[in-house]
């Protein structure tokens, strides 16, 4: 765990307490059972926004607290632990795009609403089942955006989309010319294909040529932070299970082969946490963000993959049942592994940044 300042510790403790008491995995199960494509609890999200979480990276002048990414990362990690379904990450990322690339007018219009929870926003970047920000075809002509976006997360609840077009990022409000088709993935969250058909689009013109890259860096790190919470819980749950389950008259935790596997996972988890925290810190400090973001997400992908598989295996049969939570983490894990770049994608980018 990174060394935190007092504000961050309070935030973390608050998030942990709320997630544990008010938003345990049973809450996600209710969302899932409802079958609603929006797939989150509006009342819960309103509470989060009241606690200031939707505005953590938003400047104070626009109604946020400006605590930075390390802080929102702490909250996201805690929410990841209990699989809390919410548009918090999506809205934060959209807000970061507006902060980095928006005009004063755009900021004044949207940031206060996002901070207060009055509006929900999300990114609409990729156009196929693989992350491919270099292959964007959606285009804008005369202020109207046309194109197809695929598997947009938190699309159903969003009032605002930050959309990647061939010449930059645009703000598009839900409504005319925006049609959603639900895509139900293993994680049972909100995903949709979106057809933009001459939708009114307002360019984020102040972010420079690498605005999309900067936003994607943030997307990678925050997603990794959610995965960190998930991996931590899978590890903790598995350890606790091994300590209580008896086989052949011994608790499983006394079997050395399992001990050594847990030691490996412990070391992996340590690396994952270091990488994610370094990514969050890099965004806040502004130094070496792209590389740090790649390392964060690539390590999150690697460790979450191993952890989810080992978690299932070490639980034995019970982990295979829907009644037990661990399978829910596995099914969310693969979706997040694919989001904003698989390990293969990220390695390629890392090498490119390294000039080899």
């Amino acid at each position: 765990m990174a060394v935190l300042n007092e504000e961050q510790e309070m935030l973390r403790d608050m998030a942990r307490e709320w997630a544990t008491n008010e938003s345990p995995v049973t809450e996600f199960r209710k969302v899932r059972a409802s079958g609603e494509p929006e797939a989150f609890d509006r009342t819960a999200y309103a509470t989060m926004a009241e606690m200031g979480w939707a505005g953590i990276i938003i400047p104070e002048e626009h109604g946020g607290s400006d605590f930075g990414f390390m802080s929102v990362g702490l909250v996201v990690e805690e929410l990841g632990k209990t699989l809390t379904a919410s548009p918090l990450i999506a809205t934060t990322l959209a807000a970061s795009a507006i902060i980095l690339g928006g005009s004063e007018e755009q900021k004044a219009k949207w940031l206060p609403k996002l901070a207060s929870g009055e509006a929900i926003a999300t990114l609409a970047i990729d156009e196929g089942p693989h992350h491919a920000p270099d292959a964007i075809e959606a285009s804008v002509s005369g202020g109207k955006l046309t194109g197809a976006k695929a598997f947009v997360a938190e699309a159903h609840g969003a009032d605002l989309f930050v959309v990647a077009a061939t010449d930059g990022l645009y703000l598009v409000e839900k409504g005319d010319g925006v049609t959603l088709t639900t895509r139900r993935l293993t994680d049972q969250r909100s995903h949709a294909d979106i057809a933009f058909d001459g939708a009114a689009a307002d360019k984020l013109a102040n972010g420079g040529d690498d605005l999309l890259d900067k936003v994607l860096d943030r997307a990678r790190v925050l997603t990794a932070a959610e995965m960190l919470g998930m991996a931590q819980i899978v590890f903790d749950t598995t350890l606790a299970y091994l300590k209580q389950r008896v086989q052949f008259n011994q608790v499983l935790s006394s079997f050395q082969a399992l001990q050594h596997r847990m030691a490996d996972l412990f070391a992996d988890l340590a690396q994952m946490r270091s990488a994610v925290e370094a990514g969050l810190q890099a965004i806040d400090s502004g130094a070496g963000v792209s590389r740090a973001a790649i390392v964060a997400k690539a390590e999150a992908n690697r460790v979450m993959h191993t952890m989810s598989n080992e978690g299932i295996q070490l639980h034995g049969g019970i982990g295979m049942t829907d009644e037990y939570d661990i399978g829910l983490y596995l099914k969310r894990a693969r979706v997040l592994e694919a989001a904003w770049g698989t390990r293969s994608y990220l390695k390629n980018r890392f090498a490119t940044l390294g000039g080899y």
Binding site: T186, A257, N309, Q313, M320, E323, T342
Partner: protein, 402 residues
């Protein structure tokens, strides 16, 4: 090596092949062509179309669903060569063997070995006709890999046993007619206190509760026995012989499981999937060289696994016993199957992670289920950890320190 058959043998082979072709032509309904029965054993339900029923009955009458079983109990009575021809011709016609499940794969061979004449006469023919579904009553909630630690009690009441207890992971328990179970008849000895019992699933006191799996399906149940009366003639072998019989049955299970990791042998090759879901060069090769390398990496190891499985069979035949490398097949095959499933969903991207909806193809949705359900392959039928213990201790002689 090619084997030259004597002329008359070749004749009889040709005659048999002709007989099979004619049978298929006359009995196999065209609408079932190419459908097969994928995953029928573990995940199928009990529904049957009229065409499926007709095909099952036709095959069952001939005994060709259990081609090498003795004719006197309703089997096909075929030799290996004939059984191979039958398989070839079924495949050629796009047909399939409609008789399967645990009765065929595990229970039947075990009962043929250990059952009384009366038991064989009673239970084998309905299996051969595919009329009776069997389920397995082995695992209990507190006896995962430590199977012998079972607590379900069968109390001797003179002409019957009174069974009380709980089983779990009862495959297809909700559809099964009968259950072969290992139960405790003696508390004083962990292994020698176990007996092998056949229980009617519609007996009073049997209650079944399906378990939903992470894949969303319910192929298994929890099964509760409350004062269930089981006639004494349903004891297989002797009292206390249940562990021996039960382990023998598991050998049949393992033989069936090692190559059967879901996703491990589906139709399309990984390269074909990658070509379909990813970019290709002008010459048709994969545009992503790293993915290409990973696919080749997998396929090379998969090829050497197939060589190993074949070698295990050859060695076992030659030595007249079980080859020691057989002990490694289950862990190798199931791990590779899981790896293949993971690679497949990665190749497909988010399109490979669909849960439901028209915008995913049936193959895609089935792939997701197979990926998730496949996580069980390294757990059931002797987990990989148990396999490792067995290899280390029995094959490598790394005995526990006394």
């Amino acid at each position: 090596m090619a084997t030259q058959l004597e002329p008359e043998a070749r004749d009889s082979v040709d005659v048999f092949r002709e007989e099979v072709r004619q049978f298929i032509a006359e009995n196999f309904p065209a609408e079932l062509k190419g459908k097969g029965l994928s995953m029928a054993g573990a995940e199928g339900s009990a529904k049957e179309t009229p065409a499926q029923k007709a095909w099952r009955e036709a095959m069952g009458e001939r005994g060709w669903g259990t081609p090498t079983w003795p004719k006197e109990y309703g089997g096909g009575g075929l030799n290996r060569k004939q059984a191979a021809i039958l398989n070839e011709e079924l495949a050629r016609a796009g047909a399939y063997n409609p008789i399967g499940g645990m009765g065929v794969m595990m229970f039947g061979p075990t009962l043929l070995e250990y059952g009384s004449e009366a038991q064989k006469q009673e239970h084998i023919p309905p299996i051969c006709r595919g009329e009776i579904r069997w389920c397995q009553g082995y695992s209990e909630p507190n006896a995962g890999s430590d199977l012998a630690n079972l607590q379900t009690m069968a109390e001797d009441k003179g002409d019957h046993y009174l069974v009380n207890g709980q089983k779990t992971w009862t495959s297809g328990g909700q559809w099964a007619d009968k259950c072969f179970a290992i139960v405790r008849t003696d508390r004083s000895d962990k292994h020698k206190g176990i007996s092998f019992l056949l229980i009617d699933m519609d007996s009073p006191g049997v209650e079944v509760r399906p378990i939903t799996m992470i894949s969303g399906t319910s192929p298994f149940c929890e099964t509760f026995f409350t004062d269930v009366k089981v006639p004494k003639e349903n004891l297989v072998g002797e009292e206390g012989q249940g562990w021996t019989i039960g382990k023998r049955l598991l050998q049949h299970e393992r033989t069936n499981l090692s190559g059967a990791a879901p996703g491990g042998r589906s139709g399309a090759s990984l390269a074909d999937i990658a070509k379909k879901y990813g970019r290709t060069n002008k010459d048709g090769t994969l545009a992503d060289p790293v993915l290409r390398d990973r696919i080749a990496d997998f396929e090379i190891r998969w090829t050497s696994f197939l060589h190993t499985a074949r070698r295990a069979v050859e060695e076992s035949k030659a030595q007249g016993g079980v080859s020691e490398i057989s002990s490694a097949l289950k862990k190798l095959g199931t791990k590779l199957g899981q790896e293949r499933a993971e690679l497949t969903i990665e190749i497909m991207g988010l399109q490979g992670l669909g849960w439901e909806g028209d915008n995913f193809s049936p193959v895609e949705l089935q792939g997701v289920r197979a990926w998730l359900y496949g996580k069980a392959t390294t757990i059931y039928g002797g987990s990989t950890e148990i396999q490792n213990n067995v290899i280390a201790k029995r094959v490598l002689g790394m005995l526990d320190h006394q």
